[in-house]
Amino acid sequence: MNLAVLAKQVPDLVEGVEIDASGKAVDPTSIRYILSELDDHALEEALLLKERTQARVEVFSLETSEVKDTLFTALAKGADRVVAVQTGLESSPDNHTAAKVFASALAGLPFDLILTGVRAIDDLDGSLGGLLAGYLNLPYVGLIRKVELAADQGKAIVEKEYPGGYAAELEVQLPAVLGIQAAEQPPRYVPVSRLRQVMKTGVVEELLTSPPTAQPLEVERLFKPEEGKGATMLSGSPEEVARQIANLLAERRLLR
């Protein structure tokens, strides 16, 4: 069994995020990157599968300034191979571009499962897994919180979350792409002594991919939430407040 984990670097919100002079991108000097929380869960689920089935775990990350910290941490936790994928792009790619890059990096490799966090804080559309599955012509299931491999039958049983506390068990043919919502246990701790040892002796492989053509999405404006103008507070008895609300709606021609 071969498992691939896609690990995205996202800005660390603890350090604060500033917008650059163009007003279209995050100022790279103001941030440091850390592993996306749900990708950490995807790695944890892959490591749990490795413990149960002796699967091999390989981790792929797009190149950023702190990518080696993430990849060495993955090695220290038990990944078998880690790869920094170089895109040649100046800025962090959108999910469509990232999916193409990963598709070219993974195409033809014998992976049974590709796991990734179902979404990331800097791109909440959660489309990477589905887009990648489309490019690789594989099935995709998102919002997964449990994976069981029945590799001899060429399938996996996955537990998918639905709104309202519901969940479903689905059978998916391998190979497949999974969007992880939560691993079966919180991501494990890696002792710093082991991490520092791996940083001295471990290898982060580098994979150069051909730069994708122009990104299909262009950011026109990036901005922090803007403070609105002061709200009007209504006071009085419930009947009086109700009358005021009715008058306000009528003034704005929102009542028929």
Partner: protein, 293 residues
Amino acid sequence: MEQELQKALQNTYLYGNPMGQSPRKRAEWAKTAGVSVPVISQIKRPVDVLWIVECYPSYEPRNQEISRKLARILSALGVDFAILGHEERCIGDCEWLAGERGLFEMLIERNIEILGKYRFKEILITDPHAYRTLLNIYPKLGGTFRVKHYVQFFAERLGQLKPLLKKKPSAAVTYHDSCCLGRKTGHYDEPRALLEAIPGVKLVEMIQNRESSLCCGGGASTIYLDRYIQERAKDRLADRRVQQAAATEAGILAVACPYEPSRFEDAVKITGNEGKMIVRDIIEMLAESMGLE
């Protein structure tokens, strides 16, 4: 590993403090101190006293108040001091005692490097755990510094301090010997001397005091294992200790460790002693007596 402890260790690795706060905001508390709190990298000159504020006094709101009062006392005494500001990181006591040796060594290497950049005569430190670690463990790993906990530092300046202590506290006082200032480093007399220098202080001792003092149950990372311990133990040490304090009928439980105010204030509520006893750091008692609130 318990999630709270794991999070505290991961935060310390990433940000240099167990709370997971931004290192850039480490000196935010000082902005409302009302006195100048110089950062050593900015003033670019040697100082007499480098004050290592440590994590809880830097970030935890209850302790930030105490840090501001300590700054006012230093200022009132005319001490030439500075802090490390955004360069300060956890000294590493909890990480060492939680068995996270690698993280502890990483913190020590970094702290020795930062401290080596600056010139100062001595280190003043707020946290007894960090004090003990700097005093006893850092020298074995190549970092030897003249370091004093604030109870020592102010006890040495009692002659200067005493005329400034004017207001009387509202109730009798009992003092809790923390593990690291007491049994580990033997500072039993200085905190008591400071308290007794405050006009009108009547010091009453708990049944377990000095060498036989009861641990608050917060050191060595157990502060991150409260839930874990509560599920398994009959009661919490902090609750038991507060009951000992309540038995003295003192209205003030005085402490000198940044873990205690929130731990004991919770314990005061849990043991039904709210309204009967308050918890005060010695710094707060000195500042209040000096009119530096």
